[in-house]
């Protein structure tokens, strides 16, 4: 049921002229893709700095709240650009992407990242004044930082794997496991 809905939605996107134009244009598509990947440096670079500070590895002598507050803005700007370019990339190749198991796992991981980020911020705002100058943050915050590093690393790995076609509906006709994994539709004609 949900697979059918996703498929129909993807087909609807795929039918729009701009999707095809973006998909087929060499420079535009590659630029959007490059911006998506290069902004990773801004967004995840800042995020890793914050997380590593909480773990006591980066900039241990600068107050934790100072790091988090200052690097938050560049991180969010980077994230916004990644988000927009990410949507464009999906829009350019909707059917194949929506039926990629890596893409689906990536979306779930992104939700996990968001929940983790929310909890991390809340815990931090509650307690930061008591440990701001400590080299390492308290356990609860440190776990949040480790989850953040782990989830985002998996997001990047899954994102990279979207490009590979091992489980694509188009090429796994007789392989039931792949078909199930990718949420293929029986008899689908577009990929």
């Amino acid at each position: 049921m949900i697979n059918e809905l996703i498929y129909d939605f993807a087909i609807w996107l795929d039918d729009s002229a701009w999707s095809t134009l973006l998909h087929e244009s060499y420079y535009m598509y590659n630029w959007v893709e490059s911006i998506h990947v290069l902004t990773l440096v801004v967004c995840l670079g800042m995020l890793f700095m914050i997380d590593l500070r909480m773990l006591g590895y980066a900039l241990p002598n600068v107050p934790a709240s100072n790091i988090a507050r200052r690097l938050n803005m560049p991180m969010l700007i980077g994230f916004a650009i990644m988000f927009i370019t990410g949507i464009l990339l999906f829009y350019a190749v909707p059917v194949r992407t929506s039926q990629s198991v890596w893409f689906r796992v990536k979306m779930i991981l992104l939700v996990a990242c968001a929940v983790n980020a929310y909890l991390f911020h809340r815990r931090m705002n509650e307690s930061v004044s008591s440990w701001d100058h400590d080299t390492k943050a308290p356990d609860r915050i440190r776990f949040g930082a480790i989850f953040s590093l782990g989830f985002w690393s998996l997001v990047v790995i899954c994102g990279r794997l979207v490009a590979y076609d091992w489980f694509d509906c188009e090429y796994t006709d007789s392989d039931n496991f792949s078909q199930l994994l990718s949420g293929c539709i029986a008899g689908q004609e577009r990929f």
Partner: protein, 55 residues
């Protein structure tokens, strides 16, 4: 002028930065120009929403 000094490290840093900036600018402007030439060659005008590698 304040107490900043122009010793070996400073001169090396300033000159290599200028060289690097110049070279990078040269590279990127060149890349832009060759891209425009390619598009021009393919379509007779600059169109970004098309693939110049497929005719």
């Amino acid at each position: 002028m304040n107490d900043s000094k122009w010793d070996d490290r400073t001169i090396a840093a300033a000159s290599s930065s200028v060289i690097i900036l110049g070279a990078l600018l040269y590279y990127w402007v060149g890349e832009g120009q060759s891209m425009l030439e390619l598009l021009e060659l393919a379509y007779g005008s600059v169109k970004f929403f098309n693939n110049p590698l497929v005719f």
